[in-house]
């Protein structure tokens, strides 16, 4: 019985997720186009090209799917599973409201972080098995980037968990009177930058820089297998936007409107901001990327944890105010300093 | 509830497989992987005994997490040594790595 309920819920979630991904893809096409002052898709489906994503899916279905001759066929075929399945397992733990959640775990946030570890193994599998030097290079660039940004990512989550004394995502949301972004601005900034890098979207799209290493770890993939990598990327996009909303922006809490609507609204706003960043900024250099990860974000997230812990313990009564004041001071001071030194 | 013996027998088999791997392999990296299998068998045993016999004092779990952390450190240093030896001797064969025999 529980088995059937589980399967039913999973099917429901997969349909929901796919719907949102289709909306995301269409929105992204339109947002990019309008920011670049062009129209984007307008033909398919008459109304602003709404059927474009469906047309893309059909096209991908019909594409020939080659497996390179020299490749390791087994690993080549298993890699899309390794990238997609854990990403989809993680999405079940995301609550739409205080009761609407499929997998409600005591260790919620840790569960999502732990599953994200599979992504880079899957990338290396794809890149290595293709037997192509560019894909191997792309895979290792991707793995290097992802593992550098995984750390600040995990550490800022610890910072949020400290304020709520829990790893459960629903408890974390319920304990936020003021959105955490206003109490921990350092954590929030680090989290958003790390999220953008985890998704390896521009300005952090070094792993699949088309002009340098063709397309990264999935060069040799075509047709439906390639589409699965693309799909997994959008699933992680949804996960990261939802995590940002839940951990830092008060999740499903908000006045008047019902909780799931608030939650989706926040996710879509975040998605829009990420798309905006993606289309506006140029790509960073690999050395800048590594410097940012290890020499700026990692110390900053550790500082965030140390500040939070000390202030909560030393000033147990007024800690939210004290923490907010301290962290905002540090952020503003850093910005002023940077503004001075860079002309 | 699953009988405790299932876990114990499972980990005994896993440990023996790992043991065979350590004895029969000559590639250093595969050797390390077999050691990891044995470590995991031990960890499963720790957790199972701890949960079934003394559910409130979680001593076995503590052993497990410290074993995990030190196992991770062991793999890190072990692989670095293997890579260094490989750069010097161009081999991963543990039968040929006998620099300590001077």
């Amino acid at each position: 019985m529980g088995l059937l309920i589980g399967i039913g819920l999973a099917l429901l979630v997969i349909v929901l997720v796919l719907t949102h991904i289709i909306v995301f893809i269409w929105c992204e096409l339109k947002i990019f186009a309008h920011i670049m002052d062009r129209y984007g898709p307008i033909e398919t489906g008459k109304f602003h090209g709404v059927l474009q994503p469906f047309a893309d899916v059909l096209k991908l279905m019909n594409k020939e799917d080659t497996v390179p001759g020299a490749s390791d066929r087994l690993i080549f075929k298993v890699a899309p599973f390794v990238v997609f399945v854990p990403a989809f397992m993680a999405i079940g733990a995301i609550p739409l409201s205080a009761t609407l959640v499929v997998i409600n775990l005591d260790i919620g946030a840790f569960y999502i972080i732990a599953l994200s570890a599979f992504t880079f193994v899957g990338m290396i599998m794809a890149g290595w098995s293709s037997f192509n030097k560019y894909s191997l290079l792309g895979a290792f660039r991707a793995a290097g980037q992802l593992l550098s940004y995984e750390l600040p990512f995990g550490l800022t989550i610890a910072g949020v968990a400290m304020m709520a004394s829990s790893l459960n995502l629903i408890t974390i949301v319920n304990k936020q009177v003021v959105p955490n972004a206003f109490i921990q601005p350092i954590g929030f900034l680090v989290f958003v930058i790390a999220a953008e890098a985890e998704l390896s979207r521009s300005p952090f799209d070094i792993p699949h820089a088309e002009s340098e290493i063709i397309a990264g770890y999935h060069i040799e993939y075509s047709g439906m297998r390639w589409a699965l990598f693309y799909l997994a990327e959008y699933v992680s996009l949804i996960i990261l936007c939802s995590m940002t909303a839940l951990l830092f922006l008060g999740g499903f809490k908000g006045p008047i409107l019902p909780p799931p609507v608030w939650f989706l609204l926040k996710v879509y706003v975040l998605f829009f901001i990420l798309a905006w960043i993606r289309i506006t900024f140029p790509r960073v250099r690999p050395d800048q990327l590594m410097d940012l990860g290890w020499k700026v974000l990692l110390p900053a997230s550790l500082l965030n944890i140390v500040l939070t812990a000390s202030i909560i313990i030393l000033l147990p009564d007024i800690w939210p105010v004290a923490l907010a004041v301290t962290e905002f001071t540090i952020v503003i001071a850093t910005l002023i300093y940077l503004g001075r030194t860079r002309r | 509830m699953i009988p405790l013996n299932y876990f114990v027998i499972f980990s005994a088999i896993l440990f023996s497989i790992g043991m065979y791997g350590v004895l029969a392999r000559r590639n250093a990296i595969l050797l390390l992987l077999s050691v990891e299998l044995m470590l995991n068998a031990v960890n499963v045993n720790f957790v199972a005994f701890s949960r079934y016999i003394t559910p409130h004092t979680i001593v076995g779990l503590m052993y497990t997490i410290f074993a995990m952390a030190s196992g991770a450190a062991e793999i890190g240093v072990g692989l670095a040594i293997i890579v260094t030896i490989y750069r010097g001797k161009q081999t991963l064969n543990v039968d040929e790595i006998d620099m300590l025999k001077w």
């Binding site: 020939e64 550490l155 550790l302 | 991770a72």
Partner: protein
């Protein structure tokens, strides 16, 4: 069935459904798509040039140092999470414990920084 087990049953079902979903997508496209292979098509893609050399290039050892640093801080994160949920109850002693822990690991990061291995090559 307890809440705990049903939550993890759902996790397992998510894995199964995702697996089947991927398998079905690939199966359908395997039926629909054309299959016209020829030796040139199966060569590694190098912008249309004939590939030269093998796929394996020698990597720099610094890649490995990054992986090790990642491992070490990953272990730190794994210990930080249970601490984050209880440090308020345990008070100032647990704060000092964790500060010592973070400080020791930070020494490692500083050492790596000073040795100049935190550079991408």
């Amino acid at each position: 069935m307890s809440e705990y087990l049903s939550a993890y049953l759902n996790v397992a079902m998510f894995a199964v459904v995702a697996f089947c979903f991927v398998a079905i997508l690939l199966g359908v496209s395997a039926v629909v798509r054309p299959k016209k292979e020829n030796p040139v098509k199966l060569e590694p893609y190098e912008c249309g040039m004939v590939p030269f050399g093998g796929a394996w290039s020698q990597f720099n050892v610094r890649f490995y140092v990054f992986a090790l640093l990642f491992l070490i801080f990953d272990v730190e994160i794994a210990f930080l999470y249970p601490w984050a949920t209880v440090f308020r109850e345990l008070g100032i002693t647990s704060l000092i414990e964790m500060l010592v822990f973070i400080f020791i690991l930070l020494l490692g990061l500083v050492y790596a920084w000073k040795k100049g291995v935190l550079k991408w090559v």
